[in-house]
């Protein structure tokens, strides 16, 4: 699976490089000329190739068990790229088609530890979050909402901490937030109106009070063997690590701007 994924990611990156080169050539041509049209045509062929490869990549992505619903114990399957941050799944504007979740599922957030390894992404910005797990109090304080923190070891040595939110009764869509790694929250209200806002949430890294209250649960094991646990002996709580959310592009790493803008 990794070899095929790497081939698709590499092929897509190569096609986009060729597209960029053709667009650079186009910018050197005169407007409305045959040379301009030829460069645009060539660029478009490369772009179409990149799109095809991206579609194959998304189709081939594993659908992994990320969490388990605390209400009906159903596994939560989501797409995921566990092989590296250079895959377009990690783009802030990615929108892969997701498997159907149980009716209690609200949203998936998460953290990503580099686990002492060098931070490395692709040629685009990715925002995998802080390096230690956290909750969003604004969501978790809502009546009937529970969160579940899990751990997934990535193939490149990083460690992911998905945090999934569930509720017995769904809050209105406008009260939820963006999925892990995405920068915008785009939703449809119960009246069918589409709207969006910037994903900007206050995070709480002190998990013990949430574990004590039973609002936060955790899992052990992976895949279909993932088990739901309750209580304060959560191995994902109290982890030491960078709490500022990272932004990566290539081997460049910085932190996201502070909470605030909408």
């Amino acid at each position: 699976m990794k070899a095929k994924r790497d081939e698709l990611v590499r092929g897509r990156a190569d096609a986009l490089r060729a597209y960029s080169k053709a667009m650079d050539a186009m910018e050197m041509t005169k407007l409305y000329t045959d040379a301009e049209q030829a460069a645009l045509k060539e660029a478009d062929e490369h772009f179409r190739r990149a799109v095809e490869l991206e579609e194959s990549y998304l189709k081939e992505l594993p659908r992994v068990v990320m969490s388990r619903c605390p209400f009906d114990h159903q596994p939560l399957y989501r797409t995921f790229d566990p092989f590296g941050l250079d895959g377009p799944w990690w783009r802030g504007d990615a929108s892969p088609e997701e498997p159907v979740a149980c009716r209690h599922f609200l949203v998936l957030d998460g953290a990503l530890s580099f686990n002492g390894r060098p931070a490395q992404a692709g040629s685009f910005e990715v925002r995998p979050g802080p390096q230690v797990p956290f909750v969003i109090p604004r969501l978790l304080e809502k009546e009937g909402v529970k969160a579940v923190v899990s751990m997934l070891a990535m193939e490149n040595g990083y460690v992911a901490y998905p945090v999934a939110y569930f509720a017995e009764r769904r809050p209105p869509p406008q009260e939820l937030t963006a999925t892990w790694g995405r920068t915008l929250y785009l939703y449809e209200t119960q009246l069918g109106e589409t709207s969006w806002r910037v994903a900007s949430e206050v995070r709480d890294f002190e998990l013990d009070p949430w574990l004590t209250s039973g609002k936060l649960l955790w899992t052990s094991g992976n895949g279909d063997a993932m088990r739901l646990k309750q209580g304060t002996d959560c191995p994902h709580a109290g982890l030491r690590g960078e709490r500022r959310p990272a932004v990566l592009e290539g081997d460049r790493v910085w932190f996201d701007v502070p909470h605030g803008g909408q």
Binding site: T33, F47, A94, T194, W196, S200, F255, V257, P258, H259
Partner: protein
């Protein structure tokens, strides 16, 4: 008021520079011809902010014989004379509103054509294109609370100038109770720094990179039905295609028409549509309409059956944050 049907910011700038350096109308015309610009009258009107008769731009008469250079010069100079009588405002005019270059223009056109939709996008900050492909600069992230500098030094970059009343107003609304010092403190805690006054108080990330503003999409509408196309299923796909085609994350927000806070007090200086905007259509030539005010854009929405999302005209237009 609607402006001419093609975005040609580069040519407008070049025409102005050449005219200021003493070029004759014929030389300007030849420059446009050499670059294949077919909308010559419109480009002259946009560049010199006045009226030129299209007849003046004819280079051949009815029989097909070339018109003498002196004749062309004389006819077009009449237009320049009328403009000079009105004060020659083009000398001090801001750059013609545009996107940040041909690649971006083609990217928006391509998405418009492939999805058979209209894409309405605000003109980029006039100085932003200066940083578009420069090392040490990147498009601003969506959450950055800061103001784009309009003046040198560092015009076109996001800054935290303590004397900028727009920043004070912005903080008052989006971060009530947050002083300038605590705002800068939060930036520093996140690994950012603020350059000294001599460098325009520019905000730098932990890699010493400064931020320039990307594009603000006003709306995306289906050509046939006029329905919003930026839906929960398609919106991010459209955004991703624009960003990938442009080669940078230049579209970091959703359409202004659908913004949850579009009419909230929290929208602050981003309230309502902001001008100029360019309407990219799926027509084969990829023509573009430009709008510079609220009522003409509202009329255009009405004529194309797009839903209008604003109850009143916001103020002040053009304040970039």
């Amino acid at each position: 008021m609607a402006l001419p049907g093609e975005i040609l910011g580069e040519f407008v700038g070049e025409l102005r520079a050449r005219r200021a350096a003493g070029a004759t109308p014929y030389e300007l015309l030849r420059f446009l011809e050499d670059h294949g610009v077919r909308t010559r009258t419109d480009t002259f009107r946009a560049a010199f902010l006045g009226w030129f008769s299209w007849v003046a731009f004819l280079t051949h008469d009815e029989s097909g014989a070339p018109i003498a250079e002196e004749t062309i010069n004389r006819k077009i100079e009449r237009g320049f004379a009328a403009i000079a009588a009105d004060g020659d405002g083009w000398h001090s005019a801001p750059p013609y509103p545009d996107v940040m270059g041909r690649r971006d223009r083609e990217a928006i056109r391509s998405v418009s054509k492939s999805r058979d939709c209209y894409i309405i996008v605000r003109s980029s900050h006039p100085r932003a294109r200066h940083y578009r492909h420069r090392v040490g600069h990147r498009p601003a992230p969506a959450r950055l609370v800061a103001i784009v500098r309009d003046q040198e030094p560092s015009a076109g970059l996001y800054a935290a100038d303590p004397s900028d009343s727009r920043l004070t107003a912005l903080l008052r609304v989006v971060r009530p109770g947050c002083t300038y010092d605590s705002y800068v403190g939060e930036l520093r805690q996140a690994g950012y720094s603020v350059a000294p006054e001599a460098d325009g108080w520019v905000i730098l990330n932990g890699m010493d990179e400064a931020f320039y503003p990307g594009y603000v999409i006003q709306g995306v509408y289906d050509k046939e039905s006029g329905n919003n196309l930026w839906t929960r299923n398609l919106g991010e796909a459209i955004r991703r295609e624009l960003n990938v085609r442009m080669g940078a994350s230049l579209v970091v927000l959703g359409p202004r028409d659908l913004w949850q806070l579009r009419e909230s007090e929290l929208s602050c200086m981003l309230a309502g549509p902001q001008f100029p905007v360019h309407v990219f259509g799926p027509r084969p030539g990829g023509n573009v309409d430009d709008f510079v005010d609220f009522s003409s854009l509202q009329d255009s929405y009405g004529s194309r059956c797009f839903a209008w999302h604003f109850s009143s005209e916001p103020a002040p237009p053009g304040a970039s944050i």
